[in-house]
Symmetry: C2
Subunit: 113 residues, 2 copies
């Protein structure tokens, strides 16, 4: 038997950060482009940007700096606030993961620890 | 900001126990009837029984004792194995809940603890 879990953050009952947006923001950092990040996640640019915009509105912080125009049609990078926020979320998620694993072992694999 | 989480158990990649089935089994214990429990959860009898049967097959244990026939069309009660399993799951879930709450406070409400 295995355990599975999902954890995410909400503000006023609306999701603001979970694994999906974390992945999208990580891809944007890697590619410097919303469009490329969206493509890798099989999302449209509109969907990707919509998700980011919603999270920005709910959090009240800017997550992206968009560079408009240029040969490649502009790019995007994470704001320092976004970097801090996703780093904190990552640490939170990792601590939760360890805690769930530990509890799972305690209750469902007591002989195997 | 708030946290939300879901946790569930799987066997060979297939879900065996999560909040949905826990709720259904708890309702069956309360009502002594799959049909009434299903009705309260806005499920059909077929769906409810299908979910239980799948979990039984995956876990390799019987979850319900079904009483066939009688005036009320039979009833159902949880097996001792089901009682033990859902009690353990409940404790597991409650421990996970505390751990997630604690991590959330640490990372997202550091000044308020």
């Amino acid at each position: 038997m295995e355990y599975r879990f999902k954890v995410w953050l909400e503000k006023e009952g609306q999701p603001v950060l979970g694994d999906g947006l974390l992945h999208l923001l990580t891809m944007i950092r890697q590619h410097g482009s919303i469009r490329k990040a969206a493509g890798e996640m099989k999302m449209s640019y509109r969907q990707a940007w919509g998700n980011i915009k919603k999270a920005e509105d709910r959090l009240g912080i800017n997550l992206l700096i968009k560079q408009i125009g240029g040969e490649a049609g502009g790019g995007a990078q994470l704001t320092p606030e976004a970097e801090m926020f996703i780093e904190r979320y990552r640490e939170f998620r990792s601590e939760v993961d360890s805690a769930v694993r530990e509890s799972f072992r305690k209750f469902f694999e007591p002989g195997e620890s």
